[in-house]
């Protein structure tokens, strides 16, 4: 049965299949050859380039762009992959507007940066889509390393270790590899099953055994391998700590995003008529925008602090408003109302006084038949014995944990932003440290 945006309740099939396909197509289509040349022409080939410094994986951006202008995008791709083996996904999901493109000197000069993210995608697609892998393994070292978690950190670490000649086994409890690349990113940022294609391409270096859908104990891994890397991410979701949070149809945004990504047929995915997303990060934006794209009539995204504090970038916020999401700042949930199922959320306006967030006393309610919580994730299932710092596994600059022979990186580890690109950098650097340690 066909529904519309105005159909009450949580139902599927609110928009036509054609509209759904359009809604969930690539946010930025790939640059064609001509567009890439025009975009690449704008790079000034800066000395000690600010974009490279701003990139957590320190990709030599001016070099790869020059390689594009000279007709060798394959060489450009190799420049990218040598620093960031998940450069294809990062090209799609990096908040470039707060990283490389923010500091591009043409942003300074004209307010229009070089389109670094899109150029990176142009170059990396040339190799990933062709299935050509640019690296080969070093001779086997005879050492083996276990990697727990097949997300960006784990995959990056595994690839670098394999490249250096170590044997790697990657364990992940979920059925597919990729971690948040597979389960946690808005569908319109990674279309055509790119996450799986990228994993397959990455694994073609050889020397990596995947154990998906399998759990593993640290002690056991330590016993069976020469080193262990933990890239287990953040498995828990923060609660609202608001009355009525346990009502039906109040769920985690991360689960919604994962369900969306795994859905074979989006027209079968139910969505509320009135959706409220609580939170101010990328997860909140991804959930809110996709709720709208599935056909929800009203989507409100409510954040307890001001616009300037929101961790979702300006670009992400604009994307949300352009899709019709109503952004509400400075409001915190007080209680979830409804009889069994959610019917609305009551919010209290907030203000910051002397650095402390306070209620102003003024309240308002938003009708809702579905609420998504996106107020941050927490570390769960940490193996015993590891030192924790600020809710995360404490690590050194090179990812070494407090336990000898165990490294960690990505969202589960201390330091750095919770970004794909940061996870890739941490996984890579931990691999280099593991290699150094195993070579001693």
């Amino acid at each position: 049965m066909t529904h519309s945006s105005a159909t009450n309740g949580i139902v599927a099939n609110r928009v036509s299949p054609q509209q759904l396909a359009d809604n969930f197509s690539d946010l930025h289509g790939p640059l064609d050859d001509h567009e890439a040349q025009v975009a690449a022409d704008r790079c000034y080939f800066c000395y000690d380039a600010p974009c490279t410094t701003a990139c957590p994986t320190e990709i030599d951006i001016p070099l790869f762009i020059r390689q594009i202008t000279t007709g060798t995008p394959e060489a450009a791709a190799k420049t990218i992959f040598s620093q960031n083996i998940l450069g294809g996904m990062c090209a799609r999901v990096c908040p470039t507007e707060t990283l490389c493109e923010e500091v591009c000197v043409r942003e300074t000069a004209e307010g229009k940066p070089v389109r670094i993210g899109e150029l990176q995608r142009y170059a990396t697609d040339k190799l990933v889509v062709k299935g050509e892998h640019p690296f080969t393994r070093a001779a086997s070292t005879g050492k083996t390393v276990a990697v727990l978690g097949a997300g960006p950190a784990g995959l990056s670490c595994a690839h670098r270790l394999a490249m250096l000649g170590h044997g790697v086994t990657v364990y992940d409890t979920r059925p597919k590899a990729g971690g948040l690349n597979e389960y946690g990113i808005a569908s319109y940022k990674s279309t055509d099953n790119f996450a799986q294609a990228e994993v397959e391409w990455l694994l073609s270096i050889g020397g990596i055994t995947m154990q998906c859908g399998a759990s593993a104990e640290l002690a056991d891994l330590q016993a069976r391998h020469d080193a262990v890397f933990l890239g287990i991410g953040l498995g828990g979701v923060n609660s609202l700590r608001a009355e009525g949070e346990d009502k039906d149809n109040v769920t985690d945004a991360v689960s919604f995003i994962a369900d969306l990504r795994q859905a074979d047929d989006l027209s079968k995915l139910p969505i509320g008529r009135r959706v409220v997303v609580i939170g101010g990060g990328m997860t909140a934006v991804d959930a809110a925008v996709q709720a709208k794209l599935l056909g929800a009539q009203e989507v409100s995204m409510v954040y307890r602090r001001g616009k300037e504090n929101m961790s979702a970038s300006e670009f992400e916020q604009e994307l949300a408003t352009s899709k019709g999401v109503h952004l509400i700042y400075n409001a915190a949930p007080l209680r979830v109302t409804g009889n069994g199922s959610v019917a609305g959320v009551e919010f209290g306006y907030t203000q910051t006084v002397d650095g402390k967030l306070e209620q102003t006393g003024e309240t308002f309610s938003i009708a809702a038949d579905q609420v998504f919580k996106a107020i941050g994730q927490t570390l769960l299932n940490v193996p015993e014995g590891l030192m924790i710092e600020g809710g995360k596994i404490a690590v050194s600059d090179t990812g070494a944990t407090s336990v000898k022979g165990v490294w960690a990186g990505g969202d589960c580890a201390s330091g750095g932003d919770d970004l794909t690109v940061t996870a890739v950098a941490e996984g890579r650097d931990a691999a280099l440290d593991i290699h150094a340690s195993l070579s001693r």
Binding site: Y47, V105, T108
Partner: protein, 434 residues
């Protein structure tokens, strides 16, 4: 508003912008449209002798060099003189000149290096009512292999001889078009002058291969697997052309010889520069082949505005204005001291000046931790390389040091007196004189 009317060796045109002898002036259709667009004159594409016309290649005739955003910077061509019958061209020239009496109509000619051939064609041209002729001694490919074009232009004696024949057999003014594919442009210019030429025009195209196809290992443009050198033109050749124009304009022997400037002229500024270095008018080809006839509107408006700003009322007043300031290196003032200055407000912190100076020049730019770039006056020789690599116009400037200041690089005081190499103590020939 400035009067752009031009009188070049007695040939009048409403402005000093002519189309050079080339594909844009090959036929009536084009030339009429050019005149409608506002061009002051044309040099009709080179005519050859009576009889079967020459044939052109049927593969690619042009090769190109591009800058950023695929902006065409240089063009190489393999086209020959007109491949249409002489009679057709003559008939069309006559018709167009009749309909556009106020425009300059020059006919470019290239016939075998024999007196009879030139004597035969000149009356036919004269009969069209054309205002003058231009002798094509420059075409560097194809025709040169047959003893014409550049083959004549590279031998001053031939230039003088043919020019003399033309002056003898026609009343029309004679312009001699020079090839740049020689070592000293003054020699052919002097030869043309001795032969009685009314003017020279330069430059014709430069021998060139634009690129090589790296799959089939053949020069481009490639015709059936082979390539031949062509003639290079467009913005890339402008500096070479400007120098050659200036060489003739400032040489005592040829100082009075009128010059029609050609070579990469794309906008009003280029035209003004050629004229300042001694060209009485200018000829354009590559720019119209790239952008169409309409650019003449900008040439006219730009030159007019600039002349108004300079308080100049006629084009004659700008011709040669930069010639007295064009000197030999030995006469440049070694006591002039300047330093590069970076405007921090305009700087976008790309660091290109730093790379240029640190890697390849004088290590005279400092870079701070937070990417502030400053000039080290004690190292700066004012070479200008930083300014040339800076993407922001006006961000880096060269500023002259005042008399009495001490140059931190040399520790010497800046003096007011002119001091050049001819009097410099390090000059061995200067020492000899003492």
């Amino acid at each position: 508003m400035a009067d752009l009317k031009s009188n070049f060796i007695g040939i009048k045109s409403p402005n000093p912008f002519w189309l050079a002898s080339a594909p844009p002036t090959d036929k009536e259709y084009n030339v009429r449209r050019a005149f409608e667009a506002g061009w002051g004159g044309v040099v009709w594409k080179t005519l050859g002798s009576e009889g079967p016309p020459i044939v052109n290649i049927n593969g690619p005739r042009y090769g190109a060099i591009w800058g950023a955003d695929r902006r065409l910077l240089g063009l190489n061509n393999l086209e020959l003189i007109t491949d249409r019958p002489l009679e057709t061209n003559l008939r069309e020239i006559k018709a167009v000149k009749r309909d556009y009496p106020d425009r300059a109509m020059i006919v470019s000619l290239m016939v075998p290096c024999e007196e009879d051939a030139w004597r035969a064609i000149l009356p036919h041209v004269e009969e069209t009512g054309a205002d003058g002729i231009e002798l094509n001694f420059g075409c560097p490919h194809g025709m040169a292999e047959r003893g014409m074009g550049a083959a004549v232009g590279q031998v001053p004696e031939y230039i003088e001889m043919v020019t003399r024949w033309c002056k003898q057999y026609t009343r029309m003014p004679v312009i001699v078009k020079l090839t740049p594919n020689i070592t000293d442009i003054r020699k052919p210019a002097e030869a043309a002058m001795r032969g009685g030429a009314d003017a020279v025009s330069l430059i014709n195209t430069i021998n060139s291969i634009t690129s090589v196809d790296l799959d089939i290992f053949a020069p481009e443009p490639t015709i059936d697997g082979k390539g031949a050198h062509g003639g290079y033109c467009g913005p890339a050749v402008k500096p070479i052309a400007l120098n050659m124009v200036a060489e003739i304009a400032r040489s005592a022997e040829t100082a009075k010889l009128p010059i029609s400037g050609i070579g990469g002229i794309t906008n009003w500024r280029d035209a003004a520069e050629f004229m300042a270095l001694g060209a009485g008018n200018v000829q354009v080809c590559t720019a119209v082949m790239t952008y169409g006839f309409k650019i003449v509107d900008e040439l006219i408006s730009g030159l007019s505005q600039w002349m108004d700003e300079k308080g100049v009322t006629s084009v004659d007043q700008i011709v040669g204005r930069a010639v007295p300031n064009t000197s030999d290196w030995k006469d440049l003032n070694l006591n002039y001291i300047a330093k590069a200055v970076i405007d921090q407000d305009k700087c976008i912190k790309c660091g290109r000046c730093y790379a240029a100076c640190e890697d390849t020049s004088h290590q005279a730019i400092a870079m701070s931790e937070d990417r502030v770039f400053t000039v080290k006056d004690e190292e700066c020789v004012a070479c200008n390389m930083c300014l040339n690599t800076c993407p922001v116009e006006g961000c880096i400037t060269l500023e002259q040091m005042a008399v009495g200041e001490v140059d931190p690089r040399t520790g010497k005081e800046v003096v007011a007196e002119h001091g050049d190499w001819t009097t410099h103590p390090n000059n061995p020939s200067c020492l000899t004189l003492q």
